[in-house]
Structure formats: C-alpha cells, structure tokens
C-alpha cells in the first residue's frame, strides 16, 4: 500500500465517520461541526485527486460560506436551552435498516464500475476557465466509454459550457433576490417601523 492509498483511507475514514456523526448526533450545533469536518475532508480528497480548483472552491464556498450560513441559521432559530427535537427509537430503527439496505444496493452497484486505467494530468484552471467561456478546444478529444468489447467506441464531440455557466449566474442572481425577499424583516401588524 503506497502513501497515496494510505492517505486516501485516512481521509476517507475521517469523512465517513463525521458524516455518520452528522446523522447520529442530536445536537444541531454539533451536527454543524461534524458537517464541517466532512466538507473539509472532502476538499482534501479533491486536492488528492488533482482537482485543485474544485477543492479550493469547496473550501471557500462550502466551508467558508454555506456552513457559516447554516450556523447563523441555527443561532437565529435557537429555541429555549432545554427544547430539543428528538427522533423516536422506532423512526431510528426504520431509518437505520432502510439506510443500510440502500447503502448495500449502492455499494453493490458501484463495485463493478471500471476506471479506464490511465490517468492523465488534471485540467488546469486555465482549461476550466476556457471551457466555461465557451472554447470547445478546451475539452479534450476522446472516445466514449462504456461500450462492450469489440464494438468501436465513437468519438465524443467536443463541447463547452458557456450556456450552463450563464444559467448558473442568472440562477444565483435570482436566488439572491429571492432569499432577501423571503428572509426580510417581518412587519408586525400595527407597527409600521
């Protein structure tokens, strides 16, 4: 077992255990902290997979942005110190059995998936940016995978992602306006403050 594999397993155990703790813990603030470990560990995995930009984005957007948002949500909706929303034991039993079954199905179905065996350099940030800006030359030529042995795999056409990029941008703008509208300060009836 080489160092990379050992490193992966250490990170994977950390990520998996903290993901399980997010589910198990009853305290919502502790769940947020466990979620922090899960997200940070996932970003370390991205760095290990040579996806530097995705890992950095994960750290900035998820750990730095979304999690702070979640923690603020927890604080703004904090109820009395002794009010806790507990899940009943029957619900736990059903959820555990269903979850284990689901995990078994997923693991059984993903076990047979083969990687192509060759690993090339990950796309640089420049290539990612060019793909987002609509330069189809940024995507590498290649052949489609998943065809049975013997049949010639067709070449894939090169594509770029300018339109999805624009859609996501407009989506973010809409979400910004919508969130500000939904979460605006409530006017109590009677007082026009």
């Amino acid at each position: 077992m080489d160092v990379g594999t050992l490193f992966f397993w250490i990170i994977a155990v950390v990520v998996g255990l903290s993901a399980i703790m997010v589910v198990v813990t009853q305290n919502i603030v502790r769940a947020a902290v466990w979620l922090l470990f899960t997200l940070a560990g996932t970003s370390v995995l991205y760095f290990q997979l040579n996806a530097d930009f995705v890992g950095a984005t994960q750290l900035i957007v998820y750990v730095g942005g979304t999690l702070v948002l979640v923690v603020f949500g927890v604080m703004l909706t904090a109820q009395g110190p002794f009010v806790s929303l507990r899940t009943g034991p029957g619900e736990w039993a059903v959820a555990t059995v269903a979850g284990l079954l689901f995990l078994g199905v997923l693991m059984a179905s993903t076990t047979g998936i083969k990687s192509s065996g060759k690993v090339i350099d990950a796309p640089s940030v420049q290539e990612l940016g060019e793909g987002f800006l609509g330069l189809i030359e940024a995507t590498k030529p290649g052949q489609l995978t998943g065809y049975p042995e013997g049949t010639p795999a067709p070449d894939r056409s090169r594509v770029a992602y300018l339109l999805p990029f624009e859609i996501v941008s407009v989506h973010l703008l809409v979400v910004l306006i919508g969130a500000a509208y939904l979460a605006r300060a409530k006017r109590r009836s009677g007082g026009h403050a």
Partner: protein, 103 residues
C-alpha cells in the same frame, strides 16, 4: 476491489446514504438541510473521482462538480430563508409542525 475508482464510489455512496437518512430522521429543518448538503457532496465525490480516473471526461467531472457546489450554495441560502420565515411565523423549526405546507 482492485480498481482504484471503487473506494471513491463507496465513499460517495456512504455520504449519499448518510444524507438520505439525515433528511429522513432529523426533525430540525436545518438538520434536513445538512442532509441535502451531504447528498450533494456524495455526488461531487463521484464526479471528481470519475474525472480523475477517466481521461475522456477530465474536464466535465470538474465542471459539473463546480456547478453542483454553486447550486448547493444557492439552495442552502434559499432554504435557510424559508426556515427563518417559518420560524418567524411559527416560533419553531420542527418540520412536523409544518402541517399547512402539505399542500
């Protein structure tokens, strides 16, 4: 388990399952939101791992992972706004109390 891709897919499956169970069991609406984040992270692990181990889609995996991260952030913002609004109206974040949202 000789294939190097398999452990990553297993980790993605574990994250996905944890997220689904989290969504199903948490009674706090923000806990449900955390479950959604876990599910999206499991999908992202699969995207990035497949991008690394399948050179044909080296760019696509990362591009889709970035889209997922951005959409997850947007979804968290809008869901928290809804939760805050619900809390303002009902003084609780228990999803079982949201009876009029049944439609």
């Amino acid at each position: 388990m000789s294939d190097p891709l398999t452990p990553y897919l297993w980790l993605g499956a574990l994250l996905f399952t944890c997220g689904v169970v989290c969504m199903a069991t948490k009674r706090n609406a923000i806990g449900v939101l955390m479950g959604v984040e876990l599910v999206l992270n499991g999908a992202n692990v699969n995207f990035v791992a497949c991008a690394h181990y399948n050179p044909t889609f080296a760019l696509e995996g990362q591009v889709f992972a970035l889209f997922t991260i951005v959409l997850a952030a947007a979804e968290a913002a809008i869901a928290l706004a809804i939760v805050l609004n619900f809390y303002n109206n009902h003084n609780t974040v228990d999803v079982d109390a949201a009876e009029e949202l049944r439609g």
